[in-house]
């Protein structure tokens, strides 16, 4: 075989790999079938689940040793009780102080983070989210910790690249060392570990808002989900867009993120007698031709965008360049203030409204003020706001578990079932954070509306504080709005 032929065969092989890479990007890093295969493969290894066994949790002795290293394995921590009190604990909790502990006499609760820290579409949000959560838990530690323990969120931080398979791999790598997940970013990514989390009894705070989380016992979600938020978006546009809304297109990624919002748009469209079209689109600004063409061709009155920021900018900019002048509404994660410096900036400023689960970074609630004080001098970003707000339910759950005297995974899960409201320090309305209630009664139905504003700290100014549209108000949430089985 000649060198040239070998080269061409190599090139053909790499071209196929490039095709796969493109396909994977389109599917959020992997299709559902591949994901299920991966999950099946990984869950076939019971010896490596990291779940506390009956033997692990049943043997509890009061004479804890002081020689165990931080981050000890579950076997090493079997049968521990904190020196500071009569609290049972096992995996992910030690009576040794955290690295760089605020309270050297406290034990340590290790929480994991799996986030989109480098190359995924939400990296611009994920890094501030992670930083805000570090600041949140530092504040908790500075206030004395929880039940005689400090909380560490820096030892087990992993990058998922917004890839479900990678997310699962990282989860498997850290699950034996953490009590719970301070952050599991993404809807399709978290879906890739949700069965394992249930098996392992690992509680997680999601960095996403899909409606499925309301039905998952191991998820401590905050704020309105994409589905109900989309209903509010449509209802708000019907009331406020000049000329009314007769047609709406939902443009979003396939899967739990875009699909959940599209399901909400469909419900609101039907309730308002609006023509509805759903366009699923891939990741990458260069891959938006189908969505752009669909919008330009159909000329809807309203477009709900549920993508990453770069793709959202491409859709708005390119459709506006082709003469479209309807109203866009972005779901929260679609926004990045960098869009105000992008080629699409004029169109973004004139055509886009944004919605979100809570007021912006510079709002005047005690929670927002505490966040800004804890973060110090940072470049404002709504990722900080979200990361901070998402942490409150987990703090409440840990406090409840500590107060119950049981900081085992099972104990934490039991504590969640006892929490009927969470103190968000004003970041969410009263009554939010009912983790114990029926999903339909407990779910948050209020969202806020922003508009792009180059003068605002995060590029967006609040134009409508917490409100619930008539569609979301009357919607019976009896199951996840979007499921992979349709």
């Amino acid at each position: 075989m000649t060198t040239k032929i070998r080269t061409k065969r190599t090139l053909a092989l790499l071209a196929v790999l490039a095709l796969l890479a493109t396909g994977c990007r389109d599917a959020g890093g992997g299709g559902d079938e591949a994901l299920e295969d991966t999950q099946a493969d990984l869950t076939e290894e019971p010896a490596d689940t990291g779940a506390p066994t009956e033997a692990d949790t049943a043997i509890q002795t009061p004479d804890a040793t002081d020689e165990e290293p931080a981050g000890a394995t579950e076997e090493e921590t079997d049968g521990e009780q904190a020196a500071a009190g009569d609290v049972e604990f096992d995996v992910g909790v030690t009576d040794q102080a955290c690295p760089e502990a605020a309270n050297p006499d406290n034990g340590c609760i290790y929480l994991g983070t799996i986030s989109d820290l480098t190359v995924g579409p939400f990296a611009a949000l994920a890094n501030p989210i992670t930083d805000a959560q570090a600041a949140f838990w530092s504040r908790v530690n500075a206030d004395g910790g929880i039940g005689g323990f400090d909380v560490d969120v820096s030892e087990h931080v992993r990058d998922n690249e917004y890839n479900p398979e990678r997310h699962n791999q990282e989860y498997q790598a850290i699950k034996g060392d953490v009590l719970a997940l301070a952050q599991t970013l993404g809807s399709p990514t978290t879906a890739a570990i949700i069965d394992d989390m249930e098996t392992d009894q690992i509680v997680g705070a999601p960095a996403s808002w899909t409606s499925l989380w309301a039905f998952e016992d191991v998820i401590v979600e905050s704020g309105i989900n994409y589905c109900l938020e989309a209903m509010n978006q449509v209802d708000y546009a019907v009331e406020n867009v000049d000329g009314g809304v007769g047609s709406v297109i939902a443009v979003g990624y396939p899967g739990d993120y875009g699909g959940d919002a599209a399901a909400g748009v469909a419900v609101a469209a039907e309730a308002n007698g609006i023509e509805f079209t759903n366009i699923e689109t891939g990741q990458g600004p260069d891959n938006q031709a189908g969505a752009i063409s669909g919008i330009v061709q159909q000329q809807p009155d309203l477009v709900i965008v549920t993508t990453g920021p770069a793709d959202a900018g491409a859709i708005v900019g390119q459709t506006a360049a082709q003469g479209y002048a309807g109203q866009f509404m972005f779901t929260g994660p679609s926004w990045n203030k960098g869009l105000l410096d992008s080629p699409a900036a004029p169109a973004v400023e004139s055509l886009v409204l944004l919605s979100g689960p809570w007021p912006p970074y510079d709002a005047d609630t005690p929670g927002h003020e505490a966040m800004r004080e804890a973060l110090g001098d940072v470049d404002p970003n709504e990722g900080y706001t979200s990361g901070w707000a998402w942490s409150y339910p987990l703090r409440a759950a840990l406090e409840q578990a500590a107060s119950n005297g049981d900081l085992t995974r099972a104990g934490l899960l039991e504590a969640i079932g006892q929490i009927e409201s969470v103190d968000y320090e004003g970041m969410l309305p009263e009554g939010a954070g009912n983790l114990a209630g029926d999903p339909n009664e407990a779910v948050v139905r209020q969202s806020v509306i922003f508009r792009p504003d180059p003068e605002a700290a995060t590029g967006a100014t609040l134009v409508e504080d917490f409100f619930t549209g008539p569609t979301a108000e009357s919607y019976e949430l009896e199951g996840a709005c979007f499921t992979t089985t349709g």
Partner: protein, 296 residues
């Protein structure tokens, strides 16, 4: 008709960018028989350089020229440090090294880009001409014109300059070129420098209509079907291949959801690869590639 014309203009514009990238692949392949998988990294490095030079106050043309020079220097450095020691080794090994180089450069560039969206200040933005109801974006015209100028300059360079002639001679037969006094090492380095400059130019145009972020490099992968369709060792084929990929992608993206929805969502992403397979079935060496003659 309006949709068709708009799709064609967009396709030719984007295809021009793919063609610039494909030219870089082909120029390196012709001179070294190596497929340079670091081209995506050179593209984002060039785009990042334009961003920084623009922020430093340079006007757009100067920023682009500066970025092309820096990317050329980067390409030349890669050739001298990572690839020159591998001369004589199997080309497969060298190709794999270029993948490593790609990763290294992107890690560094990602640090410079950060996680926020970055914009390239440019004269066109998303401004359009309205030509009989067809919105023609200025940047697409700029891309097409730039490609035409680049191809003309490359043709003149290879046809009339001594170093261009040396490059062609090296591409034809390295040993014979050596015996004629041509410094093959210089031609290798020069081909990498040209590819780097072209990648920077392509990266600049990518950033005229969208933000630059850490995922922008993936766009450069579209040059792969372009070079295979056009022929791995054909400069003209690279141009045609790039334009074909751009136009096919735009037409499929525009019409497939309406007329062939059964193909599923986002079929445009795989459409260039479908064309690639069809071309390979008919012409295994690409539309303009040189057929391999084997003694059996």
């Amino acid at each position: 008709m309006t949709r068709l014309l708009q799709a064609l203009v967009a396709g030719l514009g984007n295809g021009s960018v793919y063609a610039l990238l494909a030219l870089g692949f082909v120029i390196i392949y012709k001179s070294t028989s190596v497929v340079n998988f670091a081209q995506p990294a050179l593209m984002v490095a060039g785009a990042t350089a334009v961003i920084y030079l623009g922020q430093a106050g340079l006007p757009f043309p100067a920023a682009v020229a500066g970025a092309m020079a820096l990317a050329a220097l980067l390409g030349l450095t890669v050739e001298r440090t990572a690839l020159r020691p591998m001369i004589g080794k199997p080309v497969f090994v060298i190709a794999i090294i270029t993948i490593g180089v790609d990763i290294v450069i992107r890690v560094v560039v990602n640090r410079l880009l950060g996680t926020n969206l970055r914009a390239i200040a440019n004269p066109w933005g998303l401004e359009s001409f309205d030509v009989g109801g067809v919105f023609v974006q200025q940047r697409y015209l700029a891309m097409i014109v730039t490609l035409a100028v680049v191809v003309t300059l490359l043709f003149a360079f290879f046809r009339y300059s001594r170093i261009g002639l040396a490059l062609r001679a090296t591409a034809l037969d390295q040993e014979t070129a050596l015996t004629q006094g041509i410094s093959v090492g210089v031609t290798f380095a020069l081909s990498w420098a040209i590819a780097g400059a072209l990648a920077a130019l392509a990266g600049t145009f990518v950033g005229t209509g969208q933000s630059i972020d850490q995922q922008t490099w993936i766009i450069a992968l579209k040059a792969l079907p372009a070079i295979i369709i056009g022929g791995l060792d054909s400069v003209g084929g690279a141009v045609i291949g790039g334009l074909v990929v751009g136009v096919i992608e735009a037409l499929v993206g525009t019409y497939q959801p309406t007329y062939a929805p059964w193909l599923g969502n986002n079929f445009q992403l795989v459409s260039p690869y479908v064309v690639l397979l069809l071309v390979l079935l008919v012409r295994p060496y690409g539309l303009f590639g040189t057929p391999e003659v084997e003694r059996v």
